[in-house]
Amino acid sequence: MSTVNAQLPAPSRPWEKTPREVLPTVVILFLSLLTVAAIVELTALKGKLPYFLLFLPIGTAAQFLWARYKYGMKAAKDVVASSIMMTGAVAVFIPVVSIVGTTFVKGLPGLSLSIFTNDMSQASFMDPQGSGGLIHALVGTLFLILISVAISVPMGVLTALYLTEIRGPGSRFIEFMVQAMSGVPSVIAGLFIFSAVILTTPLDTSGFVAALALSILMIPTVTRASQEVLLLIPNDLREAGLAMGATQWRTVAMIVVPAAKSGLITASILGVARIAGETAPLLFTVGGADKLNTNPVFGVQSALPFYIWSGFRIGTDEAVQRSWSAILVLLIIVLILFTIARVVGSRSKGAK
């Protein structure tokens, strides 16, 4: 038996490139890198950018010439296309890494335990690090998130239920409107709440009013994500519920929504991630307190984006350092939310 096994040929993979085919490409890329280095060293160009800008055309051109000599014009065009697309992907990849990296590098030095226990009522943004902190902003952001969730999740899920369960006469139109609503600029949401609530009702700037503005941005996100999940629930389940004699209400409440539970949670978390860092609506609505305020309905509050904004506008080194630390805290919150959404979302997909 073992001899038979030994005689079996290794599975051939004709689509894979042989080392002989790969070697010229590596050599060509290396040579063009050397050429680029020589050009950068010998001419007036400086910095990292010329490497990128020169390597792209020179490397591509060299590969083009080689492929044209070896395989013909069509293959040469194919090589050029694939290297351009690869460049596009790298160019999209760089800013993400740069943004996350910068935030950690610049934010970490200002991070300490004391900023999570102090507010800015006894300190100014220009003071050296160690005095004052962002607890008021962190608490404000948590309140904003809680109130927005309490408003937007029921609204968003119910709208999604209308679109998927009732499918009434207007559902096509409402779907269109939800999509339009998701494109409302954040500054408009703030202006609207300012003119509709602060100017017309006795309510003044507070965490609750700011959460109203954020809900306008969050509802469409939750609706669209929930709708996608609810559409994935097989119709058999709904029909089974109705066949057992349940009313539509019981079917939705006891079968459809529980089946879509983890997807709905993901939808809510995505909505939170959307609004956690919104700054523009807060400028009109939250007030901007320096002191810790745990009452979201009365009195001004602060929030992390507002705190970051204030630090940036003051612009001294100390103030900007505070902003970076706050951004790091905000980014970590967003990263945690994003990871939870991914994990819960993939689990719900795996269950199907």
Binding site: G47, L49, A75, K77, D78, V80, A81, S82, M85, T87, G88, A89, V92, P95, V96, S98, I99, T102, M155, T159, L161, Y162, E165, G168, G170, F173, I174, M177, Q179, A180, G183, V184, P185, V187, I188, A189, L191, F192, S195, I216, I219, T223, T247, Q248, W249, G277, E278, T279, A280, P305, W309, F312, V320, I327, L330, L331, V334, L335, F338, R342
Partner: protein
């Protein structure tokens, strides 16, 4: 006889068969329908409140509110207000910055989407898709700070290079060598913000290209680029256009990132490398804190104009995207 007489008393009354929903269902439907209509209500209310607050301005300025290039607040010796407010310069700025963002972001996003759909190994693809989704959830102020402290120093150098070698093209000309905080740099920051939107929609449309057409092209001896050129791009063109319009909608309304990077100067500026410009949204927040009552109304009116602008762009985009996605199904 007796049997027949006893019968009616024993037989249970047959259940009435009806298609009328129960009370619980009627309540459920009413509640859900009411909430479902909420999006329409909110959109109408936004338009109504902003327009009614801006009404005084619209009446006083007329069409000059859209086309005027001046934003001045002067009181003459009798204490009467002599003011001109027009958001023309800022509308131009909005469009200039958004166009720069589109010109940079759309090609990159399309290349990236094509790479993800047709070239990337599955591991690379998963990582990149996650990163792009993550990028979409970054707060806009993070983009603004990154743009100001990290991107600006290098982008300034690129702007100088562009100006030196392509300065003969009017848009790359500058009136004075001031390259910081220019619409070009703001456009680059906006481009990084809209890349995730355009990429994910393009990717969705590209991945719906009918497989039989792709395989037919391969069977005819096409290589990857020929397949993309002959099958994928014609099929996905609508989706790319729709995705770009969604990105445009985002770019038109972006506030904080633009305010952070751009130096807001109230003059129309077409020279994208020169450090002056603005957009309607950033104009609103930069004037907000010191605005007089009349100006506040005018700023709310400016908000109304911006709202209508983005609403139409987004509705158009949804229309195009829906058509493109439906074609694939």
């Amino acid at each position: 006889m007796t049997l027949l007489e006893n019968k009616p008393a024993d037989i249970p009354v047959p259940r009435e068969i009806t298609t009328k929903p129960r009370v619980s269902d009627r309540i459920f439907r009413a509640v859900v329908t009411g909430v479902g209509a909420l999006s329409v209500t909110i959109l109408t209310l936004i338009g109504f409140f902003l327009a009614s607050r801006g009404l005084a301005t619209f009446r006083e300025e007329g069409l000059g509110f859209i086309t005027g290039f001046e934003w001045t607040q002067v009181t003459d010796e009798n204490g009467n207000r002599v003011s001109t407010v027009g958001i023309g310069a800022m509308l131009i700025g909005t469009i200039v910055v958004a166009l720069v963002a589109l010109v940079v972001a759309v090609p990159l996003s399309v290349f990236c989407a094509l790479y993800l759909t047709f070239y990337a190994p599955s591991k690379v693809k998963n990582i990149l898709v996650t990163l792009i989704d993550l990028m979409a959830s970054f707060p806009s102020i993070l983009f603004g700070m990154w743009g100001y402290f990290v991107l600006m120093p290098s982008a300034e150098y690129w702007a100088q290079l562009l100006n030196r070698y392509l300065g003969w093209i009017p848009v790359f000309d500058v009136q004075a060598p001031l390259f910081t905080r220019s619409p070009f740099i703001a456009g680059l920051v906006l481009a990084t913000m809209i890349i995730p939107i355009v990429t994910s929609i393009s990717r969705e449309v590209f991945s719906q290209t009918p497989l039989d057409r792709i395989q037919a092209a391969y069977a005819l001896g096409a290589n990857k680029w020929s397949v993309i050129k002959a099958v994928v791009l014609p099929f996905g063109a609508n989706g790319v256009v729709g995705g770009s319009m969604l990105g445009l909608g985002r770019a038109l309304g972006e506030t904080v990132a633009v305010y952070t990077v751009l130096s807001i100067v109230y003059t129309p500026n077409f020279q994208i490398l020169f450090g002056s410009g603005g957009n309607v949204a950033s104009h609103i927040i930069s004037y907000w804190s010191e605005a007089t009552e009349y100006e506040t109304g005018a700023l709310l009116g400016a908000g109304f104009v911006l709202f209508m602008l983005t609403l139409f762009v987004n509705l158009g985009a949804d229309f195009v995207v829906n058509r493109a996605v439906k074609k694939g199904k």
